[in-house]
């Protein structure tokens, strides 16, 4: 794990990657210096939660309408979820949101299949412990296993967008490779959730 992460650090060379690596190493240290697997797991989850609670993710995890921007403002124009989570008849998400990261002329973000997440996946205003229990619950997470969650997080077109949102939008706070390492560590050490 450390070799892998140092490799990422060396190749990416980015400050963000380096910061992420430092935290993983710290989490690893906790375990090797007598800290329990549970502590390592919780430390990893805290880092994962910084991604899930970032505006790029949580702006859309709302019941009726998304928020937009790094300051999480209401969506202008007003939009509603609609029956299929892709907007109302006559006002569909893909009426404005194209299939690619960012429209260079209008600055409207895009990804394949732009939509709101299901109502069972609402994280806004939840504690990181509640988000953790929510995403582990197959009744709320689309019937996914823990490995299924990671696969979803790295393959879904809309989640991909959060890593490369384009325009002046801030991306989620760590590279996808580092996120994956934290996630795998969290799973390997028992996928614990904070109380």
């Amino acid at each position: 794990m450390r070799h892998l992460l140092l490799g990422i650090c060396a190749s990416a060379g980015g400050l963000v990657a380096a910061a992420g690596v430092a935290v993983v190493l710290l989490a690893g240290e906790a375990a090797s210096q007598g800290g329990s697997a549970r502590e390592t797991s919780l430390a990893a989850w805290e880092r994962i939660a910084t991604v899930l609670q970032h505006p790029r993710c949580v702006n859309c995890h709302h019941p009726d309408a998304p928020l937009v921007g790094d300051a999480s403002r209401p969506h202008m124009p007003r939009v509603v979820r609609g029956r299929d989570s892709k907007g109302a008849p006559g006002m569909r998400c893909n009426n404005c949101h194209g299939e690619h990261s960012n429209n260079e002329a209008s600055n409207v973000p895009g990804a394949a299949d732009w939509k709101l997440p299901p109502r069972t996946m609402m994280w806004a205003k939840m504690s990181i412990g509640d988000i953790c229990r929510s995403i582990k619950n197959p009744a709320r997470n689309g019937g996914r296993s823990l490995q299924g969650l990671l696969k979803h997080a790295i393959e879904d077109s809309l989640i991909q967008w959060a890593w490369e949102p384009g325009g002046k939008r801030e991306s989620v706070p760590m590279p996808q490779t580092v996120f994956t390492d934290f996630f795998e560590e969290w799973v390997r050490t028992g996928a614990h959730c904070p109380n």
Binding site: M76, P77, R78, V79, V80, G82, A88, P89, G90, M91, R92, N94, N95, C96, G98, E99, H100, N103, E104, A105, S106, N107, V108
Partner: protein, 151 residues
């Protein structure tokens, strides 16, 4: 690059693929019924139909419109389009008229998927279409009238 507009293949020559469809429609193909309002998908004035969806043409790169069926206000047709146009004329909906092309294209798509819209349905569909003259009450009335004509 070629695009299909109003049933015809149109050759755009060496157009930059990132050019908004709206610019191509207005400046290159001279289809000026579709209006430029904000350029940021905020106002709805540039709405055209792309593969049956009411798309903001300012926010669609022409490369992404290639291979799709584009219909503009100049050629939109059918029972629903006729009913909407008739209601618009009967109620004299437009004041300055600048936004009306986008309003009509959106109203047609609303009625295509909801033949009996409530006020709330109409508001949800038309919220992305701004009218600076404030003709919203007549727009809503015209959509109800078109819906009744189609029933």
């Amino acid at each position: 690059m070629k695009i299909n507009v109003n049933g015809e293949e149109r050759d755009l020559g060496a157009v930059d693929g990132g050019t908004p469809l709206l610019w191509v429609l207005r400046d290159q193909l001279n289809l000026t019924g579709t209006k430029y309002g904000c350029g940021r998908a905020q106002c709805g004035a540039c709405t055209v139909h792309v593969n049956g969806e009411a798309v903001r043409s300012c926010s669609l790169a022409v490369r992404d419109a290639a291979g799709k069926q584009i219909v503009t206000i100049e050629a939109v047709s059918g029972r629903i389009a006729d009913a909407v146009r008739a209601a618009w004329q009967r109620l004299d909906v437009a004041q300055c008229g600048y936004c009306q092309s986008g309003q009509i294209m959106t109203a047609i798509k609303l009625l295509a998927s909801n033949r009996k819209p409530t006020d709330a349905d109409i508001d949800a569909a038309m919220d992305g279409s701004i009218c600076r003259c404030g003709a919203y009450i007549r727009i809503r009335k015209a959509i109800h009238q078109a819906a009744r004509a189609l029933a």
